[in-house]
């Protein structure tokens, strides 16, 4: 029969297993022979120890509840910071948008403009002359014959239009029964005799249209003013968020501090200092209407916002680290409670022989367990590998 060759490691493992198996066999033999050492009946110490363990598990349970509240508080602050960061980023976007719109726009104003004035003279109420009358318009004499009605007078005036540049028409409305003289463009009217309802000296001067003086000035872009309003609105929202980031009455973003106790007497704890993340706490002030009026001003605001973002990231990292510490402790405390309860439940039934047998059985089992392997590999990654 050929021999089986064993490596050194396997051989030592086998030897180990053999000796463990021997001890185990003996313990079990004694157990079956009824040679119990510490039974629950005759060991009140174990009973009271178990009670002590149970009450400690309860204490830790209450502590774990408080820690779990703390986790929620820090998580709420963490969420608040994330949301505030987004708002500050929106404020940055608003300021950048302002940079992309022109700071100034041209605005034209026209002064002194007047429309064209067509000369027009309205006479008094027309009455037919009792003898031939002479109406002098622009130096041209027009004869209105004796007893001529208004229509005839108008015809007479219009007969001279070529010379006077003035057209007559019958007035309407309030001017009914009057002759209205209207000059052509560029012609003034001057009546120099009293006749046909007109009084000597009645005149009206033509005035050409005046385009006025147009001045163009550069004024602040109203678009930027709108962006200032948006920016200020974002700051208000930041204030609201900072106020709403609490849990259970503790708001780490509104200046509250949190103290998390990890053991009953408070000797182990973590103090989490709160911050004030309202817009003023972050150093962001509401802008005046001209807050974005120049690019320099906008860039100043952008620099401020950049600083705030950095500050918020720092805070988020700090709260994140605190959260992870608290969560680790919370997890650890829960496991501790578990161990205490397991121990207490079995303690009253404990028996030294049984324990010895169990420990030896466990020893065997662990040699093949993944936990032992995992520990060994972790040891390989640190200073222990030098041993």
């Amino acid at each position: 029969m050929s021999e089986v060759t064993l490596s050194k490691a396997v051989r030592s493992n086998l030897l180990n297993l053999q000796s463990t198996a021997n001890l185990l066999g003996k313990s079990q033999e004694r157990l079956s022979s009824g040679l119990r050492v510490n039974s629950a009946m005759d060991n009140p110490t174990n009973f009271f120890t178990a009670q002590g363990l149970n009450s400690r598990a309860n204490d830790l349970g209450q502590l774990a509840d408080a820690v779990s509240n703390a986790v929620q508080t820090v998580a709420a602050a963490d969420k608040g910071i994330t949301a505030i960061t987004k708002l500050v980023e929106s404020a940055q976007a608003t300021a950048r948008q302002a940079l992309q719109t022109a700071a100034k726009v041209s605005e034209s104003t026209t002064t002194g403009a007047t429309p064209e004035h067509i000369a027009s003279v309205t006479g008094g109420t027309y009455s037919a002359p009792s003898s031939d009358a002479t109406l002098t318009i622009n130096g041209e004499n027009i004869t209105i014959t004796d007893g001529a009605l208004i229509g005839a007078a108008i015809t007479a005036i219009n007969g001279k239009t070529g010379d006077t540049g003035v057209t007559a028409s019958a007035g309407t409305g309030d001017d009914a029964g009057k002759i209205v003289l209207t000059a052509a463009a560029g012609t003034s009217i001057s009546v120099t005799s009293t006749a046909a309802g007109f009084t000597s000296g009645a005149s009206d001067t033509y005035a050409a249209a005046n385009a006025g003086t147009t001045t163009t000035t550069q004024v602040d872009n109203p678009k930027r003013k709108e962006l200032v309003d948006t920016y200020n609105e974002l700051l208000t929202q930041i204030d609201g968020l900072a106020k709403d980031s609490g849990f259970n009455g503790v708001n780490l973003l509104n200046g509250d501090n949190l103290s998390v106790l990890f053991n009953e007497d408070g000797s182990s704890k973590i103090d989490i200092a709160g911050v004030t993340n309202s817009s003023s706490g972050l150093g962001l002030a509401a802008l005046n209407d001209d807050g974005f009026s120049t690019n320099d001003k906008v860039n100043g605001v952008l620099d401020g916002l950049k600083g705030v973002i950095d500050k918020l990231r720092g805070q988020a990292a700090k709260f994140g680290a605190n959260l992870s510490v608290v969560e680790t402790r919370q997890d650890f405390t829960k496991q501790m409670i578990n161990v205490l309860q397991t121990g207490a439940a079995n303690l009253t039934l404990a028996d030294t022989n049984e324990e010895a047998a169990n420990v030896l059985a466990l020893q065997t089992r662990q040699q093949l367990s993944s936990t032992a392997l995992s520990l060994a590999s972790q040891a390989d990654q640190n200073v222990l590998r030098l041993f």
Partner: protein, 142 residues
């Protein structure tokens, strides 16, 4: 105040991530600072941590040297739960270790874990001692 350590010839000492080996004469060291310090006699290796209690000690030793509890929490509790199930009388000592770990006093936790190894040996010795009365109990005590 400095930590005072006296090393025998060729004795080794872990300071932080370094292994310090003494030469062939006695040496006295004064150590300041925060790195974990462990004497050779207090160090278990993966190979020498061969009983349930020693494995718990080994896990705590890793936590102490790495100054990291989180990484080993799972393995540690697997070991501890197994041990408490097998030998409930270890619970008070384990509670003490847990408490020191929870409050971040890893060196004290290591000292408590040393008590656990002693307790385990007591359990086994106690069982083995009673063996004397039985016939055919030839195996040496542990």
């Amino acid at each position: 105040m400095s930590l005072k350590v006296e090393l025998k010839p060729h004795e080794r000492l872990v300071i932080g991530n370094c292994l310090v080996t003494n030469s062939d004469q006695r040496t006295r060291l004064f150590i300041d600072g925060k790195a974990p310090v462990l004497r050779e006699k207090d160090i278990l290796s993966a190979a020498t941590a061969d009983s349930p209690a020693k494995r718990v000690y080994f896990a705590v030793q890793l936590m102490y040297l790495e100054e990291n509890i989180e990484k080993l929490t799972r393995d540690y509790f697997a070991l501890v739960t197994d041990l408490v199930r097998a030998a409930p009388s270890t619970t008070p000592i384990i509670d003490e270790i847990n408490n020191e770990i929870l409050t971040g006093q890893l060196y004290k936790a290591l000292r408590a874990a040393k008590k656990l190894i002693q307790h385990e040996q007591d359990i086994l010795a106690n069982a083995a001692a009673r063996d004397a009365g039985l016939p055919d109990g030839g195996q040496a005590d542990r």
